[in-house]
Symmetry: C2
Subunit: 330 residues, 2 copies
């Protein structure tokens, strides 16, 4: 291991970018050299105490020889599909692209550019996709005769919270996704249940209404909203802004991947992986940083192209030398 | 993917060898071509309905060109340290060597021979070491500021059961290792407790005594036995052979790897991986078979030497093509 630190940059500085910055500070083999932003760099610089430079995103090309890995912290809807293929031509990248259905197409687009640039890009890193994907893959490989279920929550869904905020008369809102305990128990018991969307999760909404708003109309609009709420049992609580700020300001999340399979003649084997996260963006940021280390090492080993968490051996993530990790953790 | 099946052989046919045989039957891309045994091959052949040949272990060399991966199912105390380096010169191997303290030395011995033979040997595969090792490594990488604890059980420890059976006056015995729920709760709560051996696990023994044996003396010998029981709170129940056979004939096991860490300023992040296994040898056998696939693929890719589960990307374990796994599981 060389003593040279891995030079990391962050592209996009929202909640996730902040989580990445804090994670880099806890990893001694890395240094944050730049934060790239579309906003006013001076305003962003005021938010952070780090020594990293804050620069405009359109000056990225000037950082090509000064950055080993670019951690892409934009959104999956519009930022990442546009930014990552462009950046992959110039930098090793890691991102948390999480639009599951579009992953194959995205992987292909990034792979082409990363190969052309001689870089490694690890896509869709975080906890789901990410650590949960690893768990689903391990379970399927180890238990070919099995069913794997993923439950999310209890945690804040930012997409669903945003959807509520767009309703007329809503000032602020926070939405929790909650797994149904009975469904989890049926899975653990090996019943391989067919579970509808409604049977797996419920949704709980805390809403601050504007003065004089029609609460019944807001509630109806939430619980009947297609895609977001119509297929779920949804509870709506109207609360004050003070209460929302006091009790619902965090971004906790988590969930479980539960696999129940059979071996031999009728032996039941249950594998469960679960996360309880006080801060979703800080945990996702921590996973991104560990995989940034892997991207750097894979390029050092001569690999190129787009990879996923499934392509990365666990040993590549660890800061310590292989022999030490094997002696301590195997 | 070629349609040619991976040709697998089993070396050593006890409980684990049986678990491996059953696992191979559930994996369509593999075929069991031979079982190597030190016992009378004809007697072993009678136990199985499979089409595999049962042959004497000392004829292993004749199988060099007919076997892609040899799954080593001997014991860690004496069989594996002797057999695996020898076999690694001739075959790709997978084994479940589980004497944690000797792993570095063992890895080195196997690595030398595997490299000389141009083979890949994956050592210490199973659930601990094995899947639990992967979880410890992931947790340390993702949460550099964290503590990880491993709890085992509730499950049958064959080593401890054997130790009881060696006591005078004992006809048969089964020992369960049981994690202490309060200790697990303290870990999950993020208290990073210092836990003594006694605080982490208790031991429960079901003992069939010979007629007229001194039960009090047997109990005393068990609970004071150094290394095995003296450091634990141990409960001894004397039962009949019928009851032992009826209620304690299985080999269930399991356990949990729990990591509690901190990110950002004070966000608590908890990762928990747990196994509840009806059959320890069948699950271990299933993990060995998945890693046998990886050993075969790694050799195909030109790798050689001794590897551990930490060196293997999850994608290498899965029977399905990479693109399909990414589309389905990422």
């Amino acid at each position: 291991m060389s003593n040279k630190k891995i030079r990391v940059a962050i592209c996009g500085y929202g909640n996730l970018g902040k989580g990445v910055r804090e994670a880099i500070e806890r990893n001694d083999d890395m240094e944050l050299v730049a934060i790239l932003t579309r906003r006013d760099p001076e305003k962003v610089a005021k938010q952070i105490s780090a020594s990293a430079k804050v620069v405009p995103m359109n000056e990225a090309i000037e950082w090509v020889d000064k950055v080993d890995v670019m951690i892409m912290c934009g959104g999956s809807a519009t930022d990442l599909p546009k930014q990552v293929p462009t950046f992959a031509r110039l930098f090793c990248t890691v991102d948390s692209f999480d639009t599951h259905a579009n992953i194959p197409e995205y992987l292909k687009a990034v792979d082409e550019k990363a190969k052309a640039g001689g870089n490694v890009s690890i896509i869709s890193v975080g906890w789901d996709p990410g650590m949960f994907s690893n768990m689903r893959a391990y379970a399927e490989a180890v238990l070919p005769v099995s069913h794997t279920y993923t439950f999310w929550g209890r945690g804040v869904s930012q997409g669903h919270s945003d959807a509520i905020r767009r309703i007329e008369g809503v000032k602020d809102a926070r939405q929790y996704t909650i797994p149904v305990p009975e469904a989890m128990e049926r899975v653990r018991a090996g019943k391989n249940p067919e579970l509808s969307t409604r049977e797996k999760h419920t949704r709980e909404c805390f809403v601050v209404a504007e003065e004089g708003a029609d609460l019944a109309a807001i509630e109806k609009e939430i619980v009947t909203m297609p895609n977001y709420f119509a297929d779920y049992d949804t509870t709506v609580h109207f609360i004050s802004q003070e209460e929302l700020d006091k009790n619902h300001s965090g971004l906790p999340h988590g969930g479980s991947v539960i696999s129940c399979g059979e071996t031999g003649y009728a032996s039941k084997q249950v594998i469960e992986y679960s996360l309880k996260l006080d801060s979703n963006p800080e945990f996702t940021g921590s996973v991104l940083v560990a995989y940034a280390r892997a991207a750097y090492r894979m390029k050092q080993e001569g690999m190129t192209g787009a990879k996923t968490v499934l392509d990365v051996p666990p040993i590549m993530l660890n800061v310590r030398p292989r022999e030490e990790v094997i002696a301590d953790l195997l």
